[in-house]
């Protein structure tokens, strides 16, 4: 097993307080890692450091030479009023290589294949705003897959989507992982997403713990991560994390 990305003692600040401090984390080939933590804990910063969008203020990020990384941003950050169709979004993936404005026949074919594979066949010329939440998420996934990535990074892929869409996304990512793509994602959804992943990293300004759900989803680790008491129950062989509110009777 080889390392795809290695974060070696990295810290980061945006000019104010430190957002991440002394993080050591290795993403191996074949990883399927979920990063959890409260809002403002540094999850997105961690992903951006993995991607290379940000440079750490301290420490070093090492990526395997020639590593193909693709990124799926939070759909909530997308400008849905932008005048763009589904196929134009997917074609962006080849923007760095191509200078000709119009897509070639082979490019169109590849886009059609990807959309078909993700259950979006025939949606090529639809405006992105006209799609449902799950379909929109899959368009951005198609754009990422157009690069045939070795490492797929997703920021909150199930944020703001319904249960059915969440299931679709989880199955899709599981299939991709099974076919050899390494996956790193951030999520707030412990029970619906993180608990189903083979590896979880708990972050709150620092890396609190990394391990399997059984190792990491414990009351003490979660309390250190979220700064509030949390209970972990077992239900049908699955771990279930619940709030443990104090003072409410």
């Amino acid at each position: 097993m080889t390392n795809l990305v290695e974060l070696d003692g990295i810290s980061h600040s945006y000019g104010g307080p430190t957002v991440l401090e002394h993080v050591h984390l290795t993403i191996d080939e074949g990883s399927f890692l979920g990063v959890i933590g409260p809002s403002g804990s540094g999850k997105t910063t961690l992903l951006r450091l993995v991607l290379g969008n940000l440079r750490p203020t301290e420490g070093e990020v090492r990526r395997r030479t020639g590593l193909r990384i693709a990124y799926v941003p939070q759909v909530e950050t997308v400008n849905w009023n932008f005048p763009i169709t589904v196929s134009e979004v997917v074609l962006m993936a080849a923007a760095a290589k191509w200078y000709r404005p119009r897509a070639t026949e082979s490019e169109r074919k590849r886009v059609a294949e990807l959309l078909e594979q993700l259950g979006l066949g025939g949606f090529e010329h639809r405006h992105i705003r006209e799609l449902s939440g799950g379909q929109q998420q899959r368009v951005f996934l198609a754009r990422a897959l157009h690069r045939d990535p070795e490492l797929l990074v997703l920021d909150e892929p199930t944020s703001g989507v319904d249960v059915r869409t969440r299931h679709e996304v989880v199955h899709l990512l599981t299939d991709l992982h099974r076919n050899g793509t390494s996956v790193v994602l951030s999520t707030h959804d412990i029970n619906g997403l993180a608990a189903h992943l083979p590896l979880i990293a708990c972050v709150n300004r620092e890396l609190i713990a990394v391990g399997t759900p059984a190792e990491v989803l414990t009351s003490s680790v979660l309390e250190r991560t979220y700064g509030a008491p949390m209970e972990v129950l077992e239900h049908g062989g699955m771990l279930l994390v619940t709030d443990s509110p104090m003072g409410i009777e």
């Binding site: 990124y71 932008f82 979004v89 404005p101």
Partner: protein, 278 residues
Amino acid sequence: MTLFEPFQFEFFRNGFMVATLAGAICGLVGVYVVLRSMSYIGHGLSHSIFGGAAASAVLGVNFYLGAGMWGLLSALMIGRVARRGKIGADAAIGVITTASFALGLALSNVFGQAKRSIEAVLFGSILGVTTLEVVAVACVGVLAIAIIGAFYRKLLFATFDPEVADVTGVNVGRMEALLMLMLAVTILFTMKIVGVLLISALLVTPAVIARMVTNSFARMLVIAPLVGAACGAVGMVISYHADISSGASIILLAAFVFIVVYTVTGARGRGNAGGMIH
């Protein structure tokens, strides 16, 4: 007085051609300006260039050279200050460009002899547009089309989703610099006709009109220059006959077209342009 009477004068023919080209170029570049929410940058940059124009007039330096260098310097400073993230881009633009504008006004007050050319820069003038300037504006148009054609996909990606574009290998910083350069050159070569105070409207209005009538980025790049060119051409004729400044007539016409399209396209148009019209 016939409709075509002004075309017998060379100064009007030159002004007409520059206004038509200026409308088309502003419409084209304006598509990126509005979709990137850079309207305030366009507004600020034109004010900043005014400082350079005033300084050039006072020092007797060529207008395009002096104001161009000034505009480019301002654009780079805005980009640098905004990238540092300590203050917001809008605040950076506010400080840098209004200071430059104030300098222009101060120079205008001290050196009264520059007053006429400064007024022309502020409000636009069709007088004194030379054939060489028509050629220069045409060259800017060709340059803008060449840049957009060559970097169409990269510019689109960097405009729509800069963070992912960066990860995908698009040099977003370079694309932003290219856009700023295109914007600065467009303002510099078209502000004589439209005027500093009104140029940002010509950058924004045709693009918003185009957005209201289409959901396609590629079609926006065709419709906005056509609307801009039409407003420039017809606005010039109105300017002559109504004896009002060229900038005012062009912008008033563009605003009129906007109101008509806004009314005709109804909720669909307003939905398309959501985020641009509040």
